[in-house]
Each structure stands twice: as C-alpha cells, then as structure tokens.
C-alpha cells in the first residue's frame, strides 16, 4: 500500500476528507475488496482508540469523585478545633462558683463568741459571692478573715480563695492575682481542682488584659 493511499484511508476514517474526495473514495472502496477490508480495520482501530480515550477520561473523573476531600477534611478539622476551643473558652469564662468541697471552716476546737462571729461572717460572704451581687461587701469580710492569724491555715486559705472570686466579681484582677498567688496550694491536699485553678488564672488573665 502506498503512503498516499494509507493517508486517504486515515482521512476517510477520521472524517476529515472533503466531500468530493469522499465520494470518489467510496466509489473506489466499492470496487476494491482489499481496500474495503483495510478501511474496516482502520475504522475498528479508531473505535478502539476512541473507547480507550473515553475509558481514561471516565477513570479520571471517577478517581476525582472518589478521592478524599482534603480541603473539606481540613475545614472539618479546623471547624472541630474551633468548636472545641469555643466550648472551652465559654466554660473558662463562665462565672466562678465556689468549690463544692466542704471544709471545716471552724477549724477550732473550742467555739467562742469570736469564732462564732467569724463563722457567721464566712457564711455571709459565701452567700454574697454565690449571689454575685455586691462583691465589695464580701471583700470587706474576707479581707479580715484571709489574713487572720487566730484562725487555721485551712480556714485562711478558703477565705483567700473566696476573696479571689470576690475580687474577680468586682473587676479587680490585680488584687485577685495577688491573693491567688498567696494561696500556694498544690498536691492532693489542695481542695481545689486543676480545672478550678485554671479557670481562675484564665479570668485573671482576661481581667488584666
């Protein structure tokens, strides 16, 4: 087969032959069985090439559809972090409540008039703080108790703890920090949880900034 004939077959099969050439070429095919066979084989090859190309395109589309959505995954992950951080910040910023852990504020073996008065003051300050109103009144009471050498260290420490909360309620973060640093409470003997201490530190930080 000549190169020219091969070129004509390919042009015909590819559909790029001019109409005039096409008519005369089809006449030629009719009278040449061998040429007809070559055209049919080339048409078959074209069909295979076409299907092969389509298969590659479809496979590529399917691969894209099936691939993990990295961008979306990242958004979900960042969204998750943001949501967790929001919850944490909300919890850290919520009003500080007094620890539920009970302690024997009396701490004194003998109950006298003075100790009874202190106990009453302590309870009064506690009620004010829990109510969240007039923290200044609680501060006045607790400043006397927190540094009173006549009462136990445990009693003093709890008074200081409550004083820190009262300062925070009164927007006195510096005083709250100063008092909090004096509590000096670590280890299993400390009645305050890590969460409560973290929350206090966070609120002091935001109160100062």
């Amino acid at each position: 087969m000549t190169d020219l004939l091969q070129e004509q077959i390919e042009d015909y099969v590819a559909g790029v032959m001019s109409e005039t050439d096409k008519v005369s070429f089809e006449e030629k095919i009719k009278s040449d069985a061998q040429l007809l066979q070559q055209v049919n084989e080339t048409q078959r090859l074209r069909e295979i090439l076409l299907r092969s190309r389509v298969r590659r395109q479809v496979d590529a589309a399917r691969a894209e559809i099936n691939q993990p959505r990295k961008g979306k995954g990242l958004i979900f992950m960042l969204g998750g972090f943001a949501a967790a951080a929001s919850v944490l910040l909300f919890m850290l910023s919520s009003p500080m409540m007094l620890t539920s852990q009970e302690f024997n504020y009396r701490g004194e073996t003998t109950i006298n008039q003075a100790s009874e008065a202190r106990a009453n003051d302590f309870e009064k300050a506690k009620a004010i703080i829990n109510k969240g109103e007039n923290p200044q009144d609680a501060i006045m009471i607790l400043e006397k108790l927190a540094y009173n050498p006549e009462i136990s260290s445990n009693y003093q420490r709890n008074s200081k703890w409550m004083l820190v909360i009262a300062y925070l309620q009164a927007d006195k973060a510096d005083k709250a920090e100063e008092t909090f640093n004096k509590i000096n409470c670590e280890g299993i003997e400390c009645p305050y949880s890590t969460w409560e201490k973290t929350k206090i530190k966070w609120q002091i930080f935001w109160g100062k900034n």
Binding site: E7, E10, D11, T42, L50, R51, V58
Partner: protein
Amino acid sequence: MNFSLSKQWTDEAIVEGILTGGRREHEALVALYKKFHVSLERFITHRSSDRDYAKQPEDIIWEAIEAFVVNVKKQSYSLKDAALETYLKSICKNLWFRYISSEASRDERQTKYMADWDELDDDVSETLIEKENWAYYIDIVSKAGKNCRQILDMRLIDGFSMQEISQKLVADGVFESDQTVRNTKSKCLKKIMEMINVNF
C-alpha cells in the same frame, strides 16, 4: 457561564463539554455523575434483590457513563432522542439486567425481575451497549506506549494531518524530527493492527 457546580450544568452543557474534550470533558463527566448518580443509584437499587452482588450500582453507573460518552462521541446520541437522565437510566437498565442475568438463576430472573423490567420503556434498546469485549482491545492500545497512542489518537480521532502532528510533537520536544514521527506512527500502526486482527 459558570460550570463550577454540577447543578448549573444543563444537559446541553454536559454534551457540549464531552464533545469539546480535554479539561472541559473531565469537568462535564464529574458534573454528569454528581447530577444524576443519586437518581441512577436509586433506580438500580430499587431493582435489586437483597443478595450480595460483586458489582455495585456505583460500578454500573460508571459503566453507563462510559457507554453514554462513547455514544455521544460517535454521534449516535442526541438530546433530541431522549432526555439525558432517561437515556442514562436505559443504559443502566440494560447493563444491570445483563449483569444480574449472569448472576441470578433463570427462575429468579423470570419470577422476580422480568415483570419489572418489562414495564420499562425500551426506546433505547440493547443495541446501546456493544456486545464486543472492548476491554481486551483497549488493553492492547494501552500497552502500545504513550507516544504511539498519542500519534494515533491525533490522527484517527482528532483528525490532524501528519504534518500538523509532527509540528506539534517536535515543538513539544517529544520527537526530534518530522521523519521520526512518521516512522514511529508507521511501526506503531502496523504492530497494533497485527495484534488486533489476530484476535478479532
């Protein structure tokens, strides 16, 4: 026109994208899948039994898309013939029935599915899906090498002349000269033809 979302792709835009080829064709195929896969999956699942099939509706959908694209490119499909979704469903129906025919027992087919299938319109007949096993021949072409395939694709599918093909491939640095392109094409064509004709 913005083609970024599958819902914005009209049937006409999808067909046009497939005929355009390249990146646009890829986007059209992704859009086609996204637009119809839910309804096609429901269509197939609704016509399945509880048994475990090795082939999933997802596989059938992609096979249907492939058959559809071939028909578009061969210009044996036009939107005037049938709405795209209807056409795809017809292909899915044929593919799925052919698949379960080979899987399920004759009795099961007769009693459980045939009545249902018979109710479906048969406008797009079994002839949509070629019976030849194209996979084997596609495999032959795939193994022919990238350059060989590229030359034959450009010549027989895209309809470029050998001069145009040479100019492009030499300019792209794939081949050194016009003659090496022609020689490669001749060898490649001869080899592939032999392999195909032996088995056809």
